[in-house]
């Protein structure tokens, strides 16, 4: 039925043009051809669908199935109902991993987006200058290297005798220095700093390129109305780049919730589970303590959590279209 309606669409001239008695016959012939082409077209999707179904959808369904069983990966499995899910709430390290992931959003997402916005707004007027062009390359470096490498670099920078502490001692903050990744009270924040370092460049450059597209007449009008820099930012700049802010937030929030590489390299989830995140806990449960069911239940909650956080952000920013 859908196909019939498209007959009047632009680009399908052949159908609409000859309004004669043979219209019905032509229509039937066309429909047959479409159907034939339709099958051919569906055939083109098959290779992509094959890999997607086999390596994404199948494991996805299996995750849900496993989550209702108790299984060590080798022997027989027993159905346990929702036990694995109730344990998620009861066991502090499981629930804690989710809380940690949510806390990481502050560092991975909030800080880079806010900093990126402020910096982009400050430098937008000379976005075409030489320095700004060089910065495009430099600020992208963290996006290009493996997160593992970022983890290794920063583990060293944040160590007891690392550069961060060195600088703090130099400016008289000696008493606060510590092994940032080894202290239960600072480890999560320190991991967050690594994530913020990775995300900042991308956010800044995305927002900057959006800001250069704003019509300068808007700013002139605001100037004439006597608006200051701050009014200008909230009245013109921010609303104009709303969609790009949404993009930055979405990308970085997913990176925060799904953090794995950085944590794996820098803290392995410690000290005392203070940096344990769901991705890492799934890995430990699934491959070390061999609690496949428990790992799967956490994975299911983890997926739902990502969707529950990301979908509203998408809604909010796509509204304007």
């Amino acid at each position: 039925m859908n196909e019939m309606r498209t007959t009047g669409a632009p680009g399908r001239r052949e159908v609409v043009a000859p309004a004669s008695t043979s219209l019905e016959a032509r229509r039937r012939a066309l429909k047959a051809r479409r159907l034939r082409r339709g099958w051919a077209a569906l055939g083109l999707v098959v290779p992509a669908a094959f890999f997607y179904v086999l390596f994404v959808l199948r494991p996805l369904v299996l995750t849900v199935q496993y989550s209702f069983y108790d299984w060590n990966g080798v022997g027989a499995s027993t159905f346990v109902g929702a036990d694995n899910y109730t344990r998620l709430v009861e066991k502090p390290e499981l629930l804690g991993s989710i809380v940690n992931a949510l806390e990481l959003i502050i560092y991975f997402s909030f800080i880079p987006v806010v900093l990126g916005l402020l910096t982009a707004a400050t430098i937008r007027k000379f976005a075409a200058s030489r320095l700004a062009l060089v910065s495009r390359t430099v600020l992208f470096l963290p996006q290009v290297i493996p997160l593992v490498a970022a983890g290794i670099m920063w583990t060293w920078l944040l160590a007891t005798d690392g550069l961060v502490n060195e600088i703090m001692r130099a400016v008289g903050l000696g008493p606060v220095t510590r092994a940032w990744l080894g202290d239960t009270s600072t480890a999560l924040g320190a991991v967050g700093v690594i994530g913020a370092w990775v995300a900042l460049g991308l956010c800044l450059l995305l927002l900057l390129s959006a800001m250069t597209k704003i019509d300068p007449a808007l700013y002139e009008a605001a100037r004439i109305d006597g608006a200051g820099a701050i009014r200008e930012f909230f009245a013109i700049t921010l609303p104009s780049v709303r969609q790009e802010v949404g993009v930055c937030v979405t990308v970085t929030v997913i990176a925060a919730l799904a953090a794995f590489d950085i944590v794996f390299i820098s803290t392995q989830g410690g000290p005392a589970n203070s940096t344990l995140v769901p991705g890492l806990e799934i890995y430990y449960l699934g491959f070390f303590s061999r609690e496949v069911g428990q790992a799967s239940a956490l994975a299911v909650v983890f997926m739902v959590l990502v969707l529950a956080v990301v979908l509203p952000i998408q809604r909010l920013t796509k509204e304007e279209d």
Partner: protein, 274 residues
């Protein structure tokens, strides 16, 4: 546009500061890599005698040629095949629009926000049953599936913008669907294809989780996975670790600097579409 002097200074100052924050970790890595093996050098101090030999030692210790070869094979297994199947699907869903194309597309999109960790456990058992654990196929095959949501969306978005008139004209000239695809649409898709290719190249090179879980031998892993193994093995010898990390980073950095414009635009577009 009128820019006051103060604004210019403030802006440039901020930019330089951010660039410094971005670059200093790299410099620290480099300087540390030149210190005496086994020591714990502090800060950014240049060593009295730079141990350039660390790079040679790390090159041998990490077995760099084997690692590069392995990553290259994995890239060759993933990127061309993923480009091909995603283009076919994108062409079909975005341009030919067979019955049910909306539902098929929605099913692909479902996987867009899926973190790899969520399905890694069943994937492991699946690979075990297929007897592919510890081979490069254990990384290549799942990646082909895992890239599809983004890749199909990307290519579909491109083909949606191609005018139907173009296809009708080609059909009047006697082109069948296959000719239409290879002669008309693929040549016109080159920019979309190259951006997607760059993104998938980078994601594959940097893929860590699949490598760590599904492949034990670093010589069958991706570069990022091998780096993880290298850290596990040499983690206590900081200068050597730094030298090794730098070596493992070098290919990516070289490729990035060579194709920086394409990389930047691919990454920005990639973020915008995702």
């Amino acid at each position: 546009m009128i820019v006051s002097r103060r604004e210019r200074w403030l802006g440039h100052g901020l930019l330089i500061l951010l660039m410094a924050v971005t670059v200093i970790p790299f410099i620290s890595l480099f300087v540390t890599a030149l210190h005496k093996p086994g020591t714990y050098p502090s800060g950014l101090a240049w060593p009295e005698t730079p141990y350039w030999s660390n790079f040679v030692d790390a090159f041998a210790a990490a077995d760099m040629w084997a690692l590069l070869w392995s990553s290259l094979l994995i890239e060759l297994g993933v990127v061309p095949a993923a480009l091909l199947i995603a283009t076919l699907a994108g062409f079909s869903l975005g341009h030919l629009r067979p019955p049910g194309h909306r539902w098929i597309f929605l099913t692909f999109i479902l996987g867009l926000t899926l973190p790899f960790q969520a399905i890694i456990v069943p994937l492991y058992y699946q690979m075990r049953d297929m007897q592919l654990l510890n081979t490069r196929w254990a990384i290549i095959l799942p990646l082909l599936g895992l890239y599809m949501p983004f890749a199909v969306m990307w290519m579909r978005a491109h083909f949606v913008t191609m005018p139907q008139d173009l296809s009708e004209a080609a059909r009047i000239d006697g082109a069948n669907t296959w000719n239409l695809f290879t002669r008309v649409h693929v040549p016109l898709s080159r920019p979309a294809l190259s951006s997607l290719g760059i993104l998938m190249f980078l994601w594959t090179w940097n893929q860590f989780l699949l490598a760590v879980v599904l492949v034990d031998d670093p010589k069958n892993r991706t570069m990022a996975g091998a780096l993880g193994a290298f850290q596990g093995q040499w983690g206590t010898d900081i200068p050597l670790l730094c030298a090794g990390s730098l070596l493992i980073l070098t290919p990516t950095l070289l490729v990035f600097l060579a194709f920086q414009r394409q990389f930047v635009s691919a990454l920005m577009q990639g973020a915008l579409k995702g």
